[in-house]
Point group: D2
Chain length 313, copies 4
C-alpha cells in the first residue's frame, strides 16, 4: 500500500489541509482561517496544519496548492496575486518547518489533477479543468500528464483575451475571459442590470434591497426556483463560458472539460447554456469527435486532493 499523502489548499480566506490514501479518499481534514496576506503568517499556518495532521498519520509527502505563478521545479512561488510572495522558495521554507518533502503547485493545476486522478476526468487522458470562481482558473491534463508550461505558468485560461478593448481586468489588460465568465463577472453583471430591470425585484429583495449586497449564491438560489432574471443571468454567463471553451478546444482538443467552482452548483442552469454556447461556436463541429462538458465531482476539495497526489511524484 502506498503511504498517505498530505495536501494543502491555500485559499484567500481559509487554509484547507487533508490526508489522502492512494484512492484519493480523504482520511482526515483540517481547516483554519487564513491570516490574510502576511506571507510569514501564512507559511506558519500551512506548517501548523501539516504538523497537526502529521502527528496523527504516517505522511510521506506534502503537496501545497496556491494561487500564483510557480516555477517548473515546483518549489518557488514567482508571483502571487493576493499574497506578497515574490520569488519565494516556499518548498524550502516549509520543508525546514515540517521535515517532509514538499512540492508547490498552482491551485488551478492542483484542482485539475484532483479531478483527473479521482474525479470527473478519471476516464480520459486529456482534460481541461475550468474553475469558475472569483476569477477563472484553469488546469490542463494532456496525454495523461499535468501540463505546466515551459516555465510553470501555463493554464491561465482566465487571461485569454475574448473582447478586444473589453472590460479592464485585474491583470491590467482589457477583455480577459474571466471578466465575462467568472463568478465575479456574474455578480457584476446582475448588480449593474438589476436597478433597471423590473424582473430583478425578487433578487434585490433577497439582498435586503441593497443591490451591492447581491451575491452569486442568491442568483443561483433564485434561478433554481425559476426566477427569469436570474435564469437569464446564468445563461449569459454560461454562453460566454461555452464560447471560451470552444476557443480553447480549437487549440487543445480535450476529451472532457470539467467545470468547477461555486457557480457550477447551478448545474443545468449553468451547464446547458455552456454546452449550447460551446456547440454554437466550435469550429469544425460535425467533422470531429465531440468532447463532454461535465460538472466537477470533488467540489472544493479538488485542490486539496490534487495537491496531495501531485506531491507524491
Amino acid at each position: 500500500m502506498t503511504a498517505l499523502a498530505c495536501g494543502v489548499d491555500v485559499g484567500g480566506t481559509k487554509i484547507l489541509g487533508g490526508v489522502i490514501d492512494d484512492h484519493g479518499t480523504i482520511v482526515e481534514e483540517v481547516r483554519v482561517t487564513s491570516p490574510a496576506t502576511d506571507p510569514d503568517a501564512i507559511q506558519d499556518a500551512i506548517a501548523s496544519v501539516v504538523l497537526e495532521l502529521k502527528s496523527r498519520h504516517e505522511i510521506a509527502t506534502v503537496g501545497v496548492g496556491a494561487a500564483g505563478y510557480v516555477d517548473k521545479a515546483r518549489r518557488t512561488v514567482m508571483f502571487a496575486p493576493n499574497i506578497a510572495w515574490r520569488d519565494v522558495d516556499l518548498a524550502d521554507r516549509l520543508e525546514k518547518k515540517i521535515s517532509l518533502p514538499v512540492v508547490i503547485e498552482n491551485d488551478g493545476n492542483a484542482a485539475a489533477w484532483g479531478e483527473f486522478a479521482f474525479g470527473a476526468g478519471a476516464d480520459v487522458d486529456d482534460m481541461l479543468m475550468v474553475t469558475v470562481g472569483t476569477g477563472i482558473g484553469g488546469g490542463l491534463v494532456l496525454d495523461g500528464e499535468l501540463y505546466r508550461g515551459a516555465f510553470g505558468v501555463g493554464g491561465e485560461i482566465g487571461h485569454m483575451r475574448v473582447v478586444p478593448g473589453g472590460i479592464v481586468c485585474g491583470c491590467g489588460k482589457l477583455g480577459c475571459f474571466e471578466k465575462y465568465a467568472s463568478g465575479s463577472a456574474l455578480v457584476q453583471q446582475v448588480r449593474t442590470a438589476a436597478p433597471g430591470d423590473p424582473r430583478a425585484a425578487a433578487l434585490i429583495e433577497r439582498a435586503g434591497g441593497v443591490v451591492d449586497a447581491i451575491t452569486g449564491p442568491m442568483v443561483t438560489d433564485l434561478a433554481r426556483s425559476g426566477d427569469a432574471f436570474c435564469v437569464d443571468a446564468l445563461a449569459t454567463l454560461g454562453t460566454w463560458l461555452g464560447e471560451g471553451i470552444a476557443s480553447l478546444t480549437a487549440v487543445l482538443d480535450p476529451a472532457v472539460v470539467t467545470i468547477g467552482g461555486g457557480v457550477a452548483d447551478a448545474e443545468a442552469l449553468l451547464l446547458d447554456p455552456t454546452r449550447a454556447g460551446f456547440q454554437a461556436q466550435l469550429t469544425g463541429r460535425g467533422f470531429r469527435p465531440e468532447l463532454e462538458i461535465r460538472k466537477a465531482s470533488l467540489g472544493n476539495r479538488a485542490g486539496l486532493v490534487g495537491a496531495a497526489d501531485l506531491g507524491r511524484h
Copy 2:
C-alpha cells in the same frame, strides 16, 4: 545509423516529397503539381512521388502531412477542408500502393515538429509553431512531444475566436484568429484600404492598377523599401498576431513561438510589431519568464521534414 525516412507535404497547389537522414538533412526532393481536389488522383500522386524516391533510396518509413483533421491513430483523414476526404483511411490506401509503413499527420503539426526537431525550436522542450499563410496553422510541442489532442485535432489556433461578432470565417464562425492575422487577412486588408488611401499609390501601381491583383509578396517587397502604407499593413498584421500569441501563451506558456509561412519573410517588418503586440497584451508580464518569438528556419520544407521524422515513430 538510422535508416532514411520519406516525408510528403500535400499542399493546395503542389505535392512535395523528400528523403531525409537522421539529422533532418534532405537527401533528395521531388515536387509535382497537385491534381486539384480529386482524392484518388491525389493519392496516386503521393504514391508516385514516394515510389520514385524509393527507387533510389533505402526508405524505411513514410510520413505524410496534409491539411485536415487526422485521427489520433495517425491513419485516417476525418475531414479535409480542400479535398473530398471524409473518414478516409489514407494510411491504409497508401501502404497498399507503396509497401512501406505510412503515418498521416496534420500539416501544421508536421511543420511544428520539423522546426522542433531540426529548426528554430531545437533548443527547447515547449514550442508553439504559428504558420501564417492562407489561414493560420498551428502545432504544439509540449514537454518534448507533439501534442495532437484527445481526438487528433488540436492545434487549430487559427480558429480561436478573437473578435465576438467579427469577420465571417470559412469555418462558418465569426471572428476567428486567422481572419485577422493570416496572409489572406493582410491581402484583404490592403485591398480594402488601398482605394481610399493616397499612400497606397505605389502598391496599386505595382499591381498594374488593379486593386484586386495586389498580393502579399508585393506588400512585403514595398515595405522593405520603406513604403509607409505597406509597413503599416504589416504592422497591423503583426499586432494582431502578437496579441493572439499572448492569449495562447496565457494558456500554453511555451518557451519559443516560431513564426512560419510566407509572410514571415518580411522579417522584422512583421516580427517587431508581433513582439510589441505580444508584450503589450501578455498577462503577468514582468512576473514570469518570457518566451522568444522567432522566425522559423526551415522555410517551406518544415512540413516535409517534420512529416518524415514523425513517420519514424
Copy 3:
C-alpha cells in the same frame, strides 16, 4: 383643397407609383417591374408610371424616393448602390419627360417622412425611422423637419460601426450596424447556425431541406407558431437592433422610433427583444423621459406616400 401629389418608390425589383390626397390617402397606385440596373430604362419606367397616373389625375408635383446619396437640392443622385447613377441630375431628366416639378429623395428619408406625416410618428416632433430590410435604412425627423444632413446624405444609420473588426459590409468597412440587425443579417445568421442546431429541423424542412433556401418570412412564420429556434433568431436580431437604437438615442434623443421593413411583421417577436435590448443599453435610463419604439403603420407604402408629400414642398 390641396392638389394631388404623385409619389414614386424605386425599389430593387419593382417601381411603385401612386397618387395621394392631402390626407396621405392613396387615390390610385401603379406597380411595374423594375428594369434591373439600366439607368436609362429605369428613368423611362419612372416616367411612364407618372404619365399613366397623370393621365387620370390632376397631379401638381412629383416626389421620387430611391436608394442612394441625393444632393441637398433634392435633384441629383450622387451615388446609388444598385444602379449606375453617378452625379445624375435625375430631377431634370424626369421633368423633361413628364412636364411636372420633381424632387428626388433618399428612400429612407421618404419612408420616414411618410410615417411622420401620416403614420406611426404623426403625434410627435422628433422621430427616428429604422427600416429593417436587406440593409438598414434610416430617416431622421427632427423638430418637425426632415433632416437630410449638410450634404444630403445623413440618416445612414445602417453604417454606424457597432463591432470593431466586425463582419465585412457591402460598403467595404467592418462591423456596420446593418450586418447585425437587418433582415439579411437574420437570414445569414440562421443559415449559418441551422446545420448544427437540432432545434432548426423544422426550419430546414420548411426550406425543402436546403439551408440556403431559408428566407426571413419562413423564420417569422415558424416563430409565430412557437418554434424555439426561430423565436431565438428574432430575439438575437431584436437585441442588436435595440442596442443600436440605444446608441442612436444617446445622440438624437427622439420621442418615437418607428420600426419598418418586412421583418417588422414579426411584431412582438421582434419588438419585445428590441425594447429589452434598448432598455438594457440606454445611457442614463431612469433619469430621462423615455421614447416609444413602435411598429411602422404604412407598411411598404411609406416610401411612396412620403416621397409624394415631400414633393409638395
Copy 4:
C-alpha cells in the same frame, strides 16, 4: 445695438461668468471656485457672479451652461452627474435671485453653439462639436439651429457604444465612446501601458517616477518634443476619435466637426490621426462631399459665450 448678454459656465472646479456683446466678444469675465457639489451653494455662487457683472453692465438676459440633462423648456435640470440636482427648476431659482430672465443649457450644447455662432463653425449650417475632456461632450447644430432632442437630452455622443462588452463606463454601460476617446481614456491608457514599455521612460520620469501621477498635459508636452510613446498614445486616441466621428457622420452628415477640450491643444498630433481614422472608417467615402475636422477656436470660453448667446433667444 443688441443689449449685452451674460453667460455662466458651471464646471466641476470653477464657475466662469462673462458678459458678451452681439459679436460674441467678451466684455468682462469673472471666475470663482466652485463650491464642490452642494447644490444650494452652487446656485448662490452662480447668482453672485451674475449680480457682480450686472452691477457694472446693462445685462438683458442670462444663459447658464451645466453638465446634465436639461429639459426642453431650458429651465429644469432633470439630472446632473456631479451635482445633486434632480428635477430642479434652476431657472426659476436663479431668476428670483437675480431678477433677469434665465435659460439653462447643457454644457456640451452651449459650447457647440459658441463655436457655431462665433468660432470654428461660423461658416456652415451643420456642425458637430466634440469636446474631448474628462468624458466626451457633444453638441449638434443642424440646419442652423441647436438640436436638443425631443426631451432636451440629445447630443450625448460620449455614450454611443463603440465596443460591445467593452470598458465599463461611469454610466453603468459597457463600451461607451468616451471610454476610448476622452482625455481620461488617454491617461488611463498611458498609465496602464507605461510600466511595461521601455519607451515610456521619459514620461514616467516627467511624472516624478509615479505612473499614477501621469497627466494628459504631460503626454501632450512630450509628444510635441517627439517622444515616440506619447506620439503613439495620442495617435491611438485620435484613431478612436476619428472612427467614432465616422459613425456619427453616417448618421448626421455635418459639414464641420469641431474638436474642443484640453487634448485638442495637441493640434496635429491629435487631429492628423483623427482625420486618418475618420477617413479609413467613413462609409461611402469618395461618393459624398467630405466634411472638415477642425480644432475649436474659442478654447475653454466656448461654453460661456454659447450660453450667453443662447440666453438671448
